[in-house]
């Protein structure tokens, strides 16, 4: 069996470092020191409504970063600023060392930012495979003429991309729905296909907007496992918004907490959990 070089990396490392005792041991401490994305002083308002107000935080390469907060805290707005759907009035976004005032969606995608949506934005009329192939669009390079003829190199390229898509299908265990039109799938599977489409772009930064909303416990477990595996296998940096606190605390390396468009806490899950401002925001004056 051959696997081309574009394939998902699946070869495991040899178990080079025996730990001595036979008992299960936890993974080593995860250390992140290279900043991939830095948000500084970002403010965003729609007319008179302030969505984000002077928010700053960073996302390090390789980590799973959660953005949490009560409803209306500005979490989704934050993701939309990162991938360029919204343009902030103030502040800067530094991505991979380049400082800019605003991103543009297709530029963000081209530079390795992929995302999923709270309300699932799939191409409902296409099959699972076509959706994932669409995620590969930016990776396709052949010229228009070749494309028009669908010949020679363009076809070979199509095959290579198809193979990559198949690796994602395998990874997400959605072989059985490969040819199914996405609109006919149950909600949980649609979410998985959407993740697949985002992964197809081989993103460096993956933005997940409530990836587990509306799922049952089992589906949530599956999705958590996929998120961890993505981070693990591909080294993808992940920023996610999620409401289920137990999942957030389990999954993420660091958590930033927003409330009324302001950052009220930032740190490891333990630090955040102990933060009085966070407890206040969640338990205090409910404004959900």
């Amino acid at each position: 069996m051959t696997v081309t070089e574009v394939s998902a990396e699946t070869a495991a490392q040899p178990n080079a470092e025996p730990e001595g005792d036979g008992a299960p041991t936890a993974a080593p401490e995860r250390v992140f020191d290279e900043v991939l994305l830095e948000i500084s002083g970002v403010s965003l308002s729609f007319g008179g409504v302030v969505a984000l107000s002077d928010v700053s935080f960073d996302i390090c390469k390789g980590e799973i970063r959660a953005i949490i907060g009560p409803n209306g805290a500005g979490k989704s707005s934050m993701l939309n600023v990162i991938n360029g759907f919204y343009h902030p009035q103030q502040g800067t976004i530094t991505y991979k060392g380049n400082v800019r005032k605003k991103m543009r969606p297709h530029r963000a995608a081209a530079e390795g930012i992929a995302r999923t949506f709270q309300n699932i934005a799939l191409f409902r009329g296409m099959s699972t495979l076509d959706n994932i192939m669409t995620g590969r669009l930016l990776k396709m390079r052949r010229g228009l003429l070749w494309q028009a003829l669908y010949w020679g190199p363009a076809r070979d390229e199509e095959i290579v991309h198809r193979e990559f898509a198949e690796h994602i299908i395998d990874f997400l265990e959605i072989e059985a729905i490969r040819k199914t039109v996405v609109g006919q799938l149950p909600y949980g599977l649609q979410k998985r296909v959407e993740l697949g489409r985002a992964l197809a772009a081989e993103p460096e930064l993956l933005l997940l907007d409530e990836p587990m909303a509306g799922m049952n416990v089992e589906e949530k477990e599956d999705m958590s496992r996929f998120i961890i595996d993505v981070n693990d296998e591909f080294g993808t940096t992940i920023a996610l918004i999620e409401h289920d606190m137990s999942i957030v605390m389990d999954l993420s390396d660091r958590v930033v907490v927003l409330d009324y468009g302001r950052k009220i806490a930032d740190g490891t899950p333990d630090q955040v959990r102990a933060n009085p401002a966070v407890i206040e925001a969640y338990l205090g004056v409910g404004h959900g």
């Binding site: 178990n15 036979g22 299960p24 041991t25 299908i169 059985a176 296998e233």
Partner: protein, 673 residues
């Protein structure tokens, strides 16, 4: 039984079935690793295995498989596997897991496949009992389960996993990636080129080939030890009867830990050289089946039922023309299909219509089912409904029932081509001796009879007699053509006071074949004779009554009509005369019956929600009726509580007639013939 008596009884039924000798062990290739080497030599370039991966079918030739097995074996040996060590194999149907079985066998180890969906706690017993040293598993899911119980098993030394996904950060030194094991094996092999061949040569036919745990209905699972000889002879005997060749194709989708999969997807492939394909995932089996179109297929009845249901649902959505065509040609198939398959005479018109049906309906249908190329299609595990069975046969699929067990290395009986009867499980496979003991239990002796239950000599002695006969625990009988008919589990079969066999389920099912009878409850355990309480089928009997000008206004009224009693009596008498022909069951003919004034109902607790009779509940509730059945009166008074549709409760009282039924004695039976 002496000669003189034997001649007299032969006309009705027998207690043993005709024996056909089977193959004997080929000393040169008496173990599966040796068979693998043979296949690599004689059909090295033919496909041995396929797996759908990344959306396409990958395939391996026999030569490639032999090389993989060699590398895995050497790798396991480097890790310390020694002769006699037990190796657990856990996961879905993956080529590498099948190869691991062969690799372990090559080294004289004992493969112990385990159910991949068992939770960690369920695995404990087998891991402990079999004394598993190594485990070869599919993926992270299985590794996690083993880690959960790791502390409990000091003898479990290491785990090899096939799919590294998610396992990158597991730091335990006893976890090994199969890829590394393979690499180490190849290196070792190149340094010690004779090692593998020497190990394989050491194996002999009597070595344990595999250990399969069966979950008995009670108590702990038992480890059935099967030798290479057991499996080889059983596999080749059945393969020869069915004419399996290297050109056949099969799909491996049932659990590795089940003896059937081991024979169909491993042993028979090694014996005959046919190619086994593994599905992409357990969710894609039906799609993969369609793409592959195997010629040799096995499925338990529920799977066939699901497939049929899917087809029927899709037919209902089809256009009116298609629906008409479907029902018309299915009619033709019911009339002629099974006969054509059995090579019996069929009229020219029906033959032509059947051919047309093949073009328009059966062909496309079989293609959709993935069974268009199937030559042999087995079903077993439980009784298959006659309708379902006849449906598949009528569209030209050679579906056959077989009867087998883990203790027999699967095959005990197979329905032979051209002699298919829906209510029997066929005749003994070559090499199998079959008899029905005096207590009605089916017993067999064959080359496939298991060596022992691992570390359980008491159970072995209970099941296997010193001269090699095995108790199946099933009550059955052998009909005049030498076909085995399974009645029920022996423990569910009762006795009349004179010791005659009483098989309630068998009698009830036989009566329910009559369309006028909807439900039956038979009584007779520890009684002098058998009686039944009958529920008529309101629709069928209602139609019959209307045609005969019989008026009625309710179920109760219809069931009380003497003409209806006559109708049912006639049918019971018909069954009695059939029972009379079956030696062991002649004594359980029905002597008295009554038609119940109300339908048995799950709401009243008389049936389960899946519409099975709750025998004991009914016996208690209708105790007065049963007393009357065993009395002499020709009627009885009864008051019962009922629950109406709207949930209100009320009582119905009725005076029920009881009828005596004519029974057939052995003397009459002989006189009649």
């Amino acid at each position: 039984m002496n000669e003189g008596q034997g001649a007299g009884v032969a006309a009705t039924a027998a207690t043993s079935a005709p024996f056909r000798p089977g193959a004997s062990v080929d000393l040169e290739f008496d173990t599966f690793p040796k068979l693998l080497k043979r296949n690599a030599a004689v059909r090295g370039t033919r496909s041995a295995m396929r797996e759908k991966d990344y959306g396409i079918w990958q395939s391996w030739t026999w030569a490639e498989v032999a090389a993989e097995v060699r590398a895995i074996a050497c790798g396991l040996s480097v890790l310390g596997l020694r002769r006699g060590d037990a190796v657990a194999i856990i996961g879905d149907n993956r080529p590498r897991l099948y190869w691991t079985i062969a690799a372990v066998q090559s080294l004289g180890g004992i493969p112990v496949p385990m159910y991949q969906d068992a939770v960690a706690d369920e695995m404990k017993f087998v891991l402990d009992h079999a004394g598993v040293r190594f485990a070869v598993v599919e993926n992270q899911e299985q590794v996690d389960k083993l880690l959960q119980v790791w502390e409990d098993f000091p003898q479990l030394e290491l785990v090899v996993y096939d799919q590294p996904r998610g396992l990158r950060h597991y730091r335990q030194d006893f976890l090994h990636d199969m890829a590394n094991v393979l690499a180490a094996g190849q290196k070792f092999d190149s340094e010690n080129p004779s090692f593998y061949d020497d190990e394989v040569a050491m194996g002999v036919a009597g070595d344990t080939a595999i250990m399969l745990y069966t979950s008995g209905t009670t108590g702990q699972p038992k480890g059935v030890v099967l030798t290479h000889e057991n499996i080889y002879l059983t596999a080749i005997n059945a393969a020869q009867q069915e004419g399996l060749t290297e050109r056949d194709e099969s799909l491996a989708y049932l659990p590795l830990a089940w003896v059937g999969d081991h024979i169909f997807s491993y042993a028979q492939s090694y014996v005959t050289g046919f190619c086994v394909s593994c599905p992409e995932s357990s969710d894609t089996v039906l799609t993969d089946l369609r793409e592959l179109g195997p010629s040799y297929f096995f499925a338990p009845p529920p799977i066939f039922e699901n497939i049929l249901t899917t087809v029927m649902i899709r037919m209902e959505d089809a256009s009116a023309l298609k629906r008409k065509m479907f029902s018309y040609f299915m009619g033709v198939a019911r009339r002629a299909g099974a006969n054509i398959l059995d090579r019996e005479p069929v009229g020219v018109v029906d033959r032509l219509l059947y051919w047309l049906g093949g073009v328009f309906v059966y062909g496309p249908l079989k293609n959709t089912l993935g069974l268009s190329r199937v030559r042999i299609c087995y079903t077993a595990g439980e009784a298959i409904g006659p309708d379902l069975f006849v449906f598949y046969r009528s569209i030209g699929i050679n579906m056959k029932q077989l009867y087998g067990s883990t203790e027999a290395s699967v095959f005990i009986t197979i329905q032979p081509d051209g002699e298919i009867k829906p209510d029997t499980v066929g005749t003994p496979a070559p090499g199998v001796e079959l008899k029905v003991a005096d207590d009605g239990e089916v017993m067999f002796r064959s080359p496939g009879v298991f060596k022992e239950y691992f570390k359980n000599p008491e159970a072995t002695a209970e099941t296997k007699t010193p001269d090699g006969w095995v108790h199946t625990g099933d009550a059955g009988l052998i009909d005049e053509d030498g076909h085995l008919k399974i009645i029920d589990r022996l423990k569910d079969v009762g006795r009349l006071v004179d010791g005659t066999l009483f098989a309630p389920k068998y009698i009830e099912n036989k009566l329910k074949f009559f369309s006028h009878i909807k439900e039956v409850v038979a009584f007779g355990n520890q009684q002098k004779f058998c009686t039944v309480i009958v529920n008529i089928d309101l629709e069928a009997v209602g139609n019959w009554a209307e045609r005969g000008g019989i008026t009625y206004s309710s179920y109760q009224e219809l069931a009380a009509r003497p003409q209806v009693y006559d109708l049912i009596q006639e049918e019971i008498e018909q069954m009695n005369s059939e029972l009379a022909k079956e030696q062991n069951l002649a004594g359980s003919q029905i002597h008295r019956f009554l038609l119940l004034h109300k339908e048995l109902d799950p709401d009243d607790g008389e049936l389960t929600r899946t519409r099975k009779v709750r025998r004991n509940f009914v016996a208690e509730k209708y105790s007065t009726v049963i007393e009357a059945l065993y009395g002499t009166a020709d009627h009885c008074q009864i008051t019962t509580e009922v629950t109406f549709e709207d949930g209100r409760k009320g009582t119905i009282s009725a005076d029920l007639a009881i009828r005596d039924v004519r029974t057939v004695t052995a003397g009459e039976q002989l006189a009649a013939e």
